[in-house]
Each structure stands twice: as C-alpha cells, then as structure tokens.
Amino acid sequence: MTAERKRWLVVAVAIGGIVLIPAWLPEFYVTLFGYVGLATLVALGLVLLTGVSGQTSFGQASFVGLAAYATTLLTKLAHSPPIVGLAVGLAVTGTTAWLLGLVTARLSGHFLALVSVAWGISFYALFGTLPLLHGFNGIGDIPPLRIGPLFAESRRVNLGVIWGAVAIVMAMSASLLDSRMGRAIRTLNGARLIADSVGIDTARLSRAVFVIAALYAGIAGFLFAHFQRFISPTPFSLGASIDYLFMVIIGGVGSLWGAPVGAALVVVLRDQFNDWIPRITGRAGDFEALVFSVVVILLLQRAPEGLLPLLARLPRRHSPQGELTPDVVDAAPPLAEPANATAPGVELLALESISRNFGGLAANRDVSFAVHANEIVALIGPNGAGKTTLFNIVSGVLSPSAGHIRLFGAPADHLPSRRVAALGIARTFQHVKLLPDRSVLENIALGTHLSGRAGLLRAMLRLDRAEEAGLLAEARAQAVRVGFGETLDVPAGDLPLGQQRVVEVARALCLRPRLLLLDEPAAGLRLAEKQRLAALLRQLRAEGMGVLLVEHDMDFVMQLADRVVVMDFGQKIAEGPPERVQSDPAVQEAYLGGVA
C-alpha cells in the first residue's frame, strides 16, 4: 500500500469513528468523552509548548475562559452567528497570549511560567467580578451551534464535532512538527545556540508557539461554551490550568499522543475518584487532586517521559520525512544558488582593534586581522589565549567591548548571531551541539532554515511539501558532500564524536555560507576523517569560500592554512604563512615557554 493510500485510510477510519462512535456510546460516556476531547485540545497545545519548545504555562484554562466568554457575549447578547464568536474568541486569546509572550520574551523560561500563574489568578478573578459576566452565577442559555440546517443540540452530535476538531488539530500539529518550522521549534528547548547559528528568530518563534497553544485552548473554550450552554468562572481557574499540565505530564510531553492519553486518564480517573473516595473516606474534598499530585511527582522522578512510552512501547520515529521518501526528495529541484556569490580574494571579515573584557579580565586585547575569499585562516594559541572568545565575537554570540567588525565590507558591530548567519556566515561549535534525539538528516536540515519561507500556517496545512522536499534534498546533498557515509535516519546522539562533528559541518554548509567558522573541527576525528575534512576544506576554498578555523592539531593547521594568526594572553603575537609563524621566536616562546 502506498503512503498516500495509507493516509486516506487513516482519515477514513477517523471520520468513521467520529461519526459512528457517538451514535453508539451510552449517554453517560457521551458527556465524559466530550470532556476528554475538550481537554485533549488544550493538552495538545501544552505538548507543543512544554514538550517540544520547553516552555510552560500554568494559565491555559484562562485562555479557554477568554474564548468561552467572548463567544457567549457575542452570540447570546449581540445575537451574532457562532462563527463570529469563534473568530473574535480566537482573536482575543491569540492577542492576549502574544502580548503576554512579548512581556516575558527576553526573560528566561520560568518567568513565563510564573507570570502565567499570576494571569491565571487575575483572569479568574476578573471572570468572577466583572458585572457583565454575571460572576459566579454564570451565564446560561447560550445558543447551540448550527451546522447547515442541523442544530447541534444533542450531546451526541456535539461529541462528534469535538472529536472532529481534535482530529483536525492533531493532524495540523503533526504536520507542523514534521516541517522546517517544526525543526526550528525543537531548538527552542535548550538549543538556542544552534538556533542562533542557523538564523532562527527564537524570541519570535517561542512567542508563536505560545500563541498556537493559546489558540488551541481558545477552540476548546468556544466548543465548551456552545455545548455546555452554560458558563461560570469555575472551569477556568488556576487549578483547571494545572490539571491540563498534569494531563500532559501523565500522558507524556514528548508526543502528541500523550495529550489524548493523559486527558482520558485524568478525566476518567477523576470521575471515578469523585465516586469512590467519599464512599471510602466518608467525606468530600480535594482528595483526587492530592492523589494526582503525588502521581505527577513520582512520574517526574521516575518516568519524566510520561505514561505513554510505558503503555505503548512506541518505536520512536526519528525520520522527519513523512511521505517524503528518499526518491521523492532526490527528485526535488536543488535550491537556487545564492545571488550574492563572492568575487575571488575579496575581504569577507575584518577585525579592527577588537577588545573584550569579562569584569577585570581582558580576554581579547586590540586584536586585528582579516579573512578573504579563497583563503583558509587558522587561529591558534595556547589554552586560555582568547581564541574562543574571539570566535564568539565574530559569530555574534558576544559583542566586543571595544573595536570594530566589518563583514563583507560593511560595518557589523553588535550584530546578533542570527543576523550574522543571515549574512552568510556559518559556524560549528567546539563542544558539538546537535539535537541528540533527532535524526542526522533533521539535524543537517536545520541549516537550511533560512532557505525556506513556509511559515507555521503553511506547515500546519501541509502546503509546504514542495519546499520541504527541496530543503531535505539540500540536506542530503550536503551530507554526501562532507562524506557522511552512515544512514541519515539514526539519532544524531548515537553517532561517535567524530561523525557528530561532520554532521555539524554539513549543517553549516546548508547555510550556503561565504565564510565558514570552524571551532576545533579536527578534534576527535580519526586520521582518515581528518584527511577527508582537509580535502573538503580545500575544495570549499577553491569554490571561493573563506574559512576561519580554531585548531590545536598543528599538522592539520600547517598543511591546510594559508595564513596563521597566533594569540597569547588575549593578544595577537604573530600572523603570517605557516612556515614563517613556525619559526617566529615569540610563537615558540608562547608554546614552549621560552627558547634556550
């Protein structure tokens, strides 16, 4: 069966299930599974937010509430059609999330989480006190949804609509994760240096994921209002928000399927607890919250991946390809060459009197040199000479305390890494930085981020397939170019260190750089691998690329570099062709501690 037919089969089964199951289910379960579906919508947003992008919100229930109250006011008081309620509800939740994200954007991740607690309480208090919303008396008789001539007044129809929405949102989320933007979102979780080095705008993207999670909650709020047909502040409390988070942790934050599993477990178990605990203990109370909390603590200690991996023993999929099989990818047209090809020998990078201080420590003092097209420049020096600091200044990770940087002839002081990457400067890291759980191909394809244009929405609607095939073709081509022999489907973290370095180089080449910055690329490579890397760098030089490398392996440096810059104690002590530098007394003193 082809992938295409398989997909249609899945869709057909899903539609059949959504239509038929509500018709057969006993009345009691209809209500219960409705709640499971609504909770799944919110939890899906939290999987993207917490599991994939590494942020957390304790305020999702207030987004549910915002959308629910918005549609209630519009349809009940202003008699608008529900579609207007949906649109306005989503606009309100989306804008609120965007603003809250803006406020915390530049602070570390736990600030968003803390602020979410505060707004969770604030919104709940507002829902309870604003006279327009009738406080805790709530608002009843909200008009039901109408689909064509059909009034969705029966709970069975509602259940179908809810799970239809769940299926669509889930498919859209899966498409998103399997795309250029999906790859970028994964770097938000503790891999910001990678993101910056390939030109991903992390601040904007984290905010976008946060908005998406809020919109999912908004959809749930809209459906909740029209199906429950009565709303009050209670289901939008901080406690409800934390419930959603618990669902995701219990189900598993690592996978979209964790959302329905967690939602079902929490909603059904809570229902059972409400039945049984008062019978056992003889008193009512928040005992189920106590039990769930203990379960969550134990899970975070023993199984941070949640129950889903334990329940299902899912084989983890590392390939991002979906239906993009290798032959489809190979048939894709290669990416267009960048227009800004460089003239031979032109200046790419110039440092003028760069200094950098860390408190009282001068890591770089008054360093100047340049790198040109068709040139390999090596930066060497003893440990602590300031090479890595200088490297980070060039790549925009640090900004200089004094002095100027010129890139491609234009002043480029204080440019952030992301902009440096966009100018055509790619880098590797001294300590290899890859997403260890993702496939080699996916890691390399991160480098193509700036070549693609499809955004979040196009990815969700799967309108990005042609472009995505082109990006993956590019990643494969660069993998071949660096001589990567192994299969590209294994998790990058499983490779030996030398191979991981090669993957980093391939990722950097995907940026189609004019200047390549390599931080100790030969460390951990075997002799044959070093020779292959040297040959590749020579070939890149011949093609017009400039290369700046920091390296300790002197044989590697001396056979390869056109020019060597030697640093000691933060200062440049020598510069010139390898032979001349090797015989320089100052250099010999720095390395050997004085010549007899």
């Binding site: 590494g54 934390i242 952030p416």
Partner: protein, 339 residues
C-alpha cells in the same frame, strides 16, 4: 479617604508587606541554592498558623503526625547510608520528632500562647528539609520548569493534607501581644509592631548568618556557582536541605505572625505565597533589597486597593507584575538560554 483611614491602611499594608518580605527572602534563598521555585512555601505558612491555632485550643495538630510519619521515612532511608549518615539520621529524624511529639503531648493541654507558637515552629520547620529530601532531591538536576511543576504538584499535596488535618474552617494563631498604643492620630497595634520587629530581627539574623557563619558562606557559594561549589567539596544535598529548612522556618514564623492578625484557612497560604513571589520577581529572583522594596509596595498597594476596589484586589496586585517584567526585560541585555 481621610488621613486617618489612609494611615490605618498604610499600617496594615506595611504589616502584610513585612510578611511578603519574609516569604520573598525564603523564595530567594531556595531558588538561588536549588533552582526550585518554592510554591508550597505559602502552604507551609498556613500550616504554621493552623498548627499554632490547634495547639492553642488544646488539640494535637495533624501536622505533628505528618512530621512523625515522614521523619520515619527519612530515618529508614538514612539507615542504609554510612555510619555517620545513619547516626545523624537517628538524631534528626528519630530523636527530634520524638522530642517534639512528647513536648506537644505534655504541653498542648496547657494552652500557653508562647509554647503553642514555639511548638508550631518546631513542627513546621523540618518539613522544608523533608520536602527537599523526598520531592526535589531525586530530580535535583532537572530543568527549572520540571522543578516548578513538582513544586506546583506539592502545593496540591499540602492543601489536600491541610484539609484533612484542619478541616475547611479558618483559625487564628495566638497573638504575641494584644496591646496597642497611640502614635499621633493612629492607633498602632502591638501585634503589627511585633511583626515588624520579628521581620527586622530575622533579616539582621540572616545577614549575620550569610556573612559570618560557615554554613551561610557554604550556601552563598552553592548559590553563586553550583558546579564550583560541588568541586570544592560542598555537599549539594546538605546545602539544599539547609536552604529548605530556612525557608520553612521563615514560612512557619510568617504563619504564626500573620495568623494572629488575619484568620487563615488551609488553602489561604497560596495567595500569600504568590504575593511573596511578586515581590521576589521584582528583585528578578536575585536581589534581596529590591525584593524588600517590592514586598512593601505589594503590601501597601493591596491594602489601599482593598479600600478602593476590593473586588479587584487580586487583579491589581498581579497585573502589577506586567510593567515590572517589561522593565526587567528592557534591563536585561540578551535573552537567556532556557537550558
């Protein structure tokens, strides 16, 4: 609003502000040493009030049995360690809870305010280290977010237990003093003054502790560089326990102080703790003096807010966070890594 009302509200605001300050200090100590955002600190505060209240009415509080039960778990766990660990475990988790239980059994029926307060402190303070031992130490190296989720879950565990132990009714802690005196046009209550005095003593005491004692210096080292502290032989587990112990002592003290002014129920601690947070966030979770200013500001704003728009009191306090965060954002140079 006339001057008289304003001054009365101001006095009220400063008193609660002092309580928020205590909580902010506890949060900052725990966060800087262990990266845990100690949400359940507010619940320990409620435990402090309710434990003192129960003792004062001649009852043995459920928290006493909780202390005994969890201490027994810690005792069993420490017995499997080396001889020194086991010996210390027996002293701290065996002898200490027995002594406290015995004292409570003998002294609770006498219903003496000072004794009730001291016993409440003795019962609630060890809960910090126990929480560290069983909830956080097993995941000490997890991300700040994972630790925050554990802290949230613990909050629910503690209010669940609080409901079991104390029921839904509010209770008050015994007052240190019920006197009052006139200062110009305002009547200053003795308890308000006692709160401020306790707060000032504690702040000075902590200053001395961090500046002059070896344990204080160890904590500062652990806070400024966790890895470095570990490399010079500082026991991360022990410094975590110490930080949590300080925080729970502070919470218990705040509980018996505020509990004499405002009756609290089992679930009232969370809101109070959150306002301590707002103060701590004003300090960017780093700076003690800024947190102090923030705490007083929150207390006074809340007090004035409850006069003008009491329904929106919470909204006002938490919305205050937004401009502060904007300011913090603008001040910080570059986005931090979320690793």
């Amino acid at each position: 609003m006339d001057l008289f009302v304003f001054l009365a509200l101001l006095q009220d605001g400063i008193t609660t502000g002092a309580i928020y300050l205590l909580l902010a200090i506890g949060l900052l100590i725990v966060f800087s040493v262990t990266r845990v955002i100690f949400v359940p600190q507010g619940d320990l505060l409620a435990f402090g009030t309710l434990t003192a209240g129960a003792l004062q009415s001649g009852q043995l509080p459920g928290t006493l049995w909780l202390l005994d039960a969890v201490s027994a778990m810690a005792l069993v766990a420490s017995l499997s360690g080396g001889r020194r660990v086991a010996l210390r475990g027996v002293l701290i988790w065996g002898v200490y809870p027995l002594a406290v239980t015995a004292a409570a059994l003998i002294l609770a029926p006498r219903q003496m305010p000072a004794v009730s307060i001291l016993l409440a402190l003795a019962i609630v303070t060890p809960m910090g280290p126990l929480i560290w031992r069983f909830a956080f130490r097993p995941v000490a190296d997890a991300s700040v977010l994972a630790l925050l989720i554990v802290a949230m879950a613990l909050h629910f565990v503690l209010i669940g237990l609080g409901l079991v132990f104390f029921g839904p009714e509010e209770a008050t802690a015994p007052a240190l003093t019920d006197g009052s005196f006139d200062l110009g046009v305002v009547n200053v209550s003795g308890q308000s003054l006692a709160v401020l005095l306790c707060c000032a003593t504690l702040v000075l005491g902590l200053r001395w502790f961090f500046g002059a004692t070896i344990h204080g210096k160890v904590l500062r080292a652990a806070a400024s560089d966790r890895l470095g502290a570990r490399l010079v032989g500082i026991d991360a587990a022990a410094s975590g326990a110490l930080a949590f112990g300080l925080a729970s002592f502070i919470a218990a003290l705040a509980g018996v102080l505020i509990g004499a002014v405002t009756p609290l129920s089992y679930d009232a601690g969370f809101d109070i703790g959150l306002k301590g947070f707002v103060a701590a966030i004003m300090g960017g979770l780093i700076s003690y003096p800024m947190a102090a200013g923030g705490a007083l500001l929150v207390g006074v704003l809340e007090s004035l807010g409850s006069f003008w728009a009491s329904a929106y009191r919470e909204v006002i306090v938490f919305t205050l966070l937004i401009p502060i965060l904007v300011w913090l954002s603008l001040r910080s140079g570059s986005p931090e890594d979320r690793a």
